[in-house]
C-alpha cells in the first residue's frame, strides 16, 4: 500500500501518531490504546498491506472499505467490538467513568 493510503486510515480513525524512527499510530478508544500500527518514514518505503490489515484486525473487504469510503470510525469500533478486541467489560468500565 502507499504511504498516503496509510495516512488516510490514520486520519479517518483519528489515530494518535508519534514520529520517531518510524511513524507509529495508535487507535485509542475511551482513553485506552486498542490497536497499534506503523510504517517507515518516506513516501517510497514499502508498506505490506496484509500485515497492516492484520494489525488493524480487519479482513480484506473491511480494510478496503476503510481506506475507500464505506467504513468510518464508529463502524471500525463496532468491528473491533465484534472481534473482542474492544472488550465488553472495558466498554462498561469506560461508560461508568
Amino acid at each position: 500500500m502507499k504511504a498516503h493510503e496509510f495516512e488516510t486510515i490514520v486520519k479517518k480513525l483519528h489515530m494518535e501518531t508519534r514520529d520517531s524512527k518510524h511513524r507509529i499510530a495508535y487507535f485509542v478508544h475511551n482513553g485506552v490504546r486498542i490497536v497499534k500500527t506503523m510504517r517507515s518514514h518516506g513516501n517510497s518505503k514499502f508498506i505490506p498491506e496484509h500485515l497492516i490489515r492484520k494489525q488493524l484486525h480487519l479482513d480484506q473487504a473491511q480494510f478496503v472499505g476503510l481506506y475507500s469510503c464505506s467504513i468510518n470510525e464508529p463502524e471500525y469500533i463496532e468491528i473491533l467490538k465484534s472481534k473482542g478486541v474492544i472488550a465488553a467489560d472495558a466498554i462498561k468500565a469506560a461508560e461508568g467513568r
Binding site: 520517531s20 518510524h22 482513553g31 497499534k36 508498506i47 505490506p48 478486541v85 472495558a90
Partner: protein, 151 residues
C-alpha cells in the same frame, strides 16, 4: 601444432581450439593423442544440481537474539518469519503481528530490532492503559525482552 606449448583446460571444457593453426584443429583433452584429433566443438556445459527447497540463501525463519537498544536485553530469542515481497524482505513475528521491511534481510532485521525496542517502552508505559490485544502483545514482549539497568 606447437607440441611444447602447455595447454590448460578450463573445468568442464570438452575440447579446445589450437590457436596457432589457421585450420582450427580441435583437440580432445581426454585423448592421449592430441595431434590432429578432430572433435566437434561444443560449448562447455556445466550442470549444477539445485535443490529447489534451498535455492535461496535466505532462510525462511531466523531467531533474533539482540535488540538495537542498549537498555534492553533479549532473554528469549524472538522467532521471525522471513519472506520477500516486491523486492523487499519482510521479517515478522506472528505472535505479536509485528514486522519490519528492508532491502535485505539484514536491513529488515535491523528495522525490526528498532521497532521492537520502541514498542517495548511504548507498551510498558504505565500511564497509558492498554486494550486486551496490546496488553497481550506487551506480555509476550516482556517474556522475550527485559530492561537492563545501565550504571
Amino acid at each position: 601444432m606447437a607440441a611444447a606449448t602447455p595447454i590448460v583446460f578450463r573445468p568442464g571444457a570438452t575440447s579446445v581450439r589450437a590457436t596457432d593453426d589457421e585450420n582450427f584443429t580441435w583437440l580432445d583433452p581426454l585423448s592421449d593423442n592430441t595431434s590432429g584429433v578432430a572433435h566437434e566443438y561444443s560449448s562447455p556445459e556445466l550442470f549444477i544440481p539445485i535443490d529447489e527447497e534451498h535455492a535461496s540463501a535466505r532462510p525462511n525463519s531466523v531467531l533474533l537474539g539482540t535488540v538495537a537498544d542498549r537498555r534492553l536485553r533479549v532473554r528469549k530469542a524472538i522467532p521471525l518469519d522471513v519472506s520477500a515481497e516486491e523486492g523487499n524482505v519482510i521479517v515478522s513475528w506472528g505472535a505479536t503481528d509485528e514486522f519490519a521491511c528492508g532491502a535485505s534481510m539484514g536491513d529488515a532485521i535491523e528495522e525490526f530490532s528498532k521497532t521492537i525496542g520502541e514498542l517495548f517502552f511504548d507498551l510498558n508505559d504505565q500511564s497509558i492503559p492498554l486494550g486486551r490485544d496490546l496488553a497481550r502483545v506487551r506480555d509476550i514482549l516482556n517474556e522475550h525482552i527485559e530492561q537492563v539497568i545501565i550504571r
